[in-house]
Symmetry: C2
């Protein structure tokens, strides 16, 4: 089957990242989607600028309407941002029979109703997973994964810039102004940070999530919006003394007969999951009447995470274009003919750190014997604790944390330790996870 041909409008951070992911993971993506996906054209403002992605096979133009009018393109990816021009391009794409994938939250939040009406009338898809919470597939979760629920409450850290600034103020005891400057230097905040710090970006995202969660038309104007500009170091410190973190949240809740949609700073008790989401990370808590509370966590922005969402949308669109109408999403994610044989890693070679609990006679020299056994097999020790050393007549527990070592070497060392005459019980071995 002919590859699906895609045109990308905008090759900035997210556009380049998307081209990059499509090339790097092209084989796996085609195995999932059932067709190859090729970016063949891109529209950019400055044709001469260096791009971080491989442009082989991609024809550049300065006029995005060249892409919209190109009969060879099946899908347009809109990554230019802004509202009016993007709206014109998306509507024109739909008129010319092209599916659209967009990361443009402002566009969807403010003009989405008209866009979706046009798309449905023309039998086309406008996919917008990348418009909210970066790489977290929160739109798919709400639209499909929780489709059996009556949603009761939705709250999220939706703006990475705000969360980064609040985290910096708390962790590094800097002022709001310093934290903002820092965010700008690292590319987390725009030169004009107003959209982020005043809460408008989060309100766009909340508008989209609320519509999907509660089955209402998109209505940006119904969101009450407050930013973080007035939050001081002292507020964050006082809140902490009382057991809270200050987070900038978007909230969408049923309230009586209506919905309460709001974006503003909140005190969140420190034991709650959202309180521990720091830096530029995003998280969304969704409470449904059947499922209870669920939380979705990941990077809310950046080239890779946003590209992840754009490509997932593209795969969804391609799956609707391909052959088997009764079974478009393959059962095991990859098309049936494309499943590989599992190749099991050699367990003996797997590296990892280990917790070992020994039960040994409480007498001098035992630790020396044990550490020698480990050392001889290349297992180095990170910590060793002898517990309850008491009377000397009873065996005592010795706890050892190892550095990373070959699983086979650790197993051999355990057998050797168990063979010592001072060993009074089998060694308990528990692996460490998520450590370097």
């Amino acid at each position: 089957m002919k590859p699906v041909q895609v045109g990308v409008i905008g090759l900035g951070t997210v556009g380049s990242g998307t081209v990059d992911v499509l090339i790097r993971n092209g084989t796996e993506i085609a195995r999932r989607a059932g067709r190859e996906i090729q970016v063949t054209r891109a529209a950019v403002r400055d044709i001469k600028r260096d791009r971080s992605c491989d442009l082989t096979g991609i024809a550049l133009t300065q006029d995005p309407f060249d892409l919209v009018n190109d009969p060879d393109l099946d899908v347009i990816i809109e990554l230019m941002g802004g509202c009016d021009d993007a709206y014109a391009l998306v509507m024109k794409s739909l008129e010319s029979g092209k599916h659209v994938v967009t990361a443009n939250k402002a566009l969807i939040a403010t003009r989405g109703n008209e866009i979706f009406e046009r798309a449905s009338a023309n039998g086309l898809v406008v996919a917008f997973e990348a418009s909210v919470a970066g790489g977290i597939p929160i739109i798919k979760v709400l639209r499909e994964g929780l489709a059996g629920n009556r949603i009761i409450n939705l709250e999220g850290i939706l703006n990475g810039t705000c969360n980064y600034i609040l985290t910096q103020i708390r962790e590094r005891q800097v002022s709001y102004e310093e934290a903002l400057k820092d965010a700008q230097a690292l590319g987390y905040a725009e030169a004009d940070p107003h959209f982020d710090v005043a809460g408008i970006d989060a309100a766009h995202k909340l508008t989209i999530l609320a519509s999907i969660a509660y089955g209402i038309h998109l209505d940006f104007n119904s969101v009450q919006i407050e930013g973080i500009e007035h939050i001081t170091q002292s507020d964050i410190r006082y809140a902490e003394e009382l057991g809270f973190r200050i987070k900038h949240l978007g909230l969408a809740r049923r309230y009586g007969d209506g919905l309460d949609l709001r974006v503003h700073p909140c005190l969140v008790a420190e034991h709650q999951l959202l309180a521990s989401v720091s830096g530029v990370m995003n998280a969304v808590l969704v409470e449904g009447d059947a499922v209870g509370k669920t939380v979705y966590y990941g990077a809310g922005a950046g080239a890779g995470p946003t590209a992840s969402a754009v490509v997932a949308d593209l795969v969804d669109v391609v799956r609707t274009l391909t052959a088997d109408p009764n079974n478009r999403v393959p059962h095991l994610a990859f098309q049936p003919g494309q499943l590989a044989q599992s190749n099991t890693a050699s367990r003996a070679e797997v590296m990892g750190a280990h917790y070992l609990r020994l039960t040994v006679a409480d007498r001098p020299g035992v630790l020396g014997e044990v550490t020698k056994i480990l050392g001889d097999r290349g297992v180095s020790i990170r910590a060793i604790h002898q517990k309850d050393s008491g009377s000397g007549s009873q065996p005592v527990p010795v706890v050892i944390l190892t550095h990373r070592a070959r699983e086979a070497d650790v197993a051999m060392a355990i057998r050797a330790i168990e063979g010592l005459t001072v060993s009074a019980a089998p060694v308990v071995r528990i692996r460490l996870e998520g450590e370097e």
Copy 2:
């Protein structure tokens, strides 16, 4: 359009919960799916037993093949558990042209390859979201939401019983045996807990997730399995002293050219998100090359959460049966004609707790004036802290936490406080989130 007719095999906890959710949320579900969904038949072992769900309009039988052979049924929901009988029923359902929704992890992990082959050959869907991690839509996330990624690492708390037992040992200092007895009394563990505590249930789930994440055939035998029976109170305490929690994890990682699939207890550093997942909750961490680390958290079992996943699968299946082939999943989750007008809650009436930071003259009587203003407007105080009380010549901050109060009353109180002659700056007001 005629309602989709569904037969349920098994009306235990999950079956009754599913019928319950389909009735309770019937209107919203039909607005999403585009068709009404009706359970018209159910197969149960004991026809006379009382059920917790409403059985109006549901014909009961003791022979599940009555459902499989009923030409009026479009979808079979298999909730009987076990392997051999369930396999026969699912294969027969597929032969007779029926889609299948199942929560049976053992069946999918051990016989899924044959089942999916038959389903694809017949153009049918076998949906199994409920087989892993209860209500968390982790299968959809991996299969569709992260389709652009090369998955690098997947690790999860997949068995609520194990996590409950480990949490109880740590938090209540009870023995493994006591914690297990407790789990059994609460219905979290079976009378024969072997499948759970020996890690077999988690291994079934890991088999399914690994297949979807890495595009391999289901291969239960490639999972290395270890349970939690050998974990003692002391291990949990020693681990805690070293800064770790002990969690029972399923892990699926690329390792060299192969995959390393394993289920066993692990030490997890306490600052990591998985370390804070307690009780019967589940969580899955998925790391993709584009998206980075993402985490999905929710209830891993129980009537409501599992029913949430079963119904989401049902909606997916119904969406494939309905009219508009180019656009089966509606853009905003609900079918276009079914979106409601947003009804904005009256903000003045919304109740909530507040953090107030006042800047006031440092002299006697000020706190009295402030608390009187709040009290007169029905805003009761949970905590009040006067900060940096120093020389007396400079205004000082006073931090107040209120109990829940009408937003309008708080706003009036703030205006009144700002009108006091002792007030030296506007009041900073931040709302509290997630508190009773």
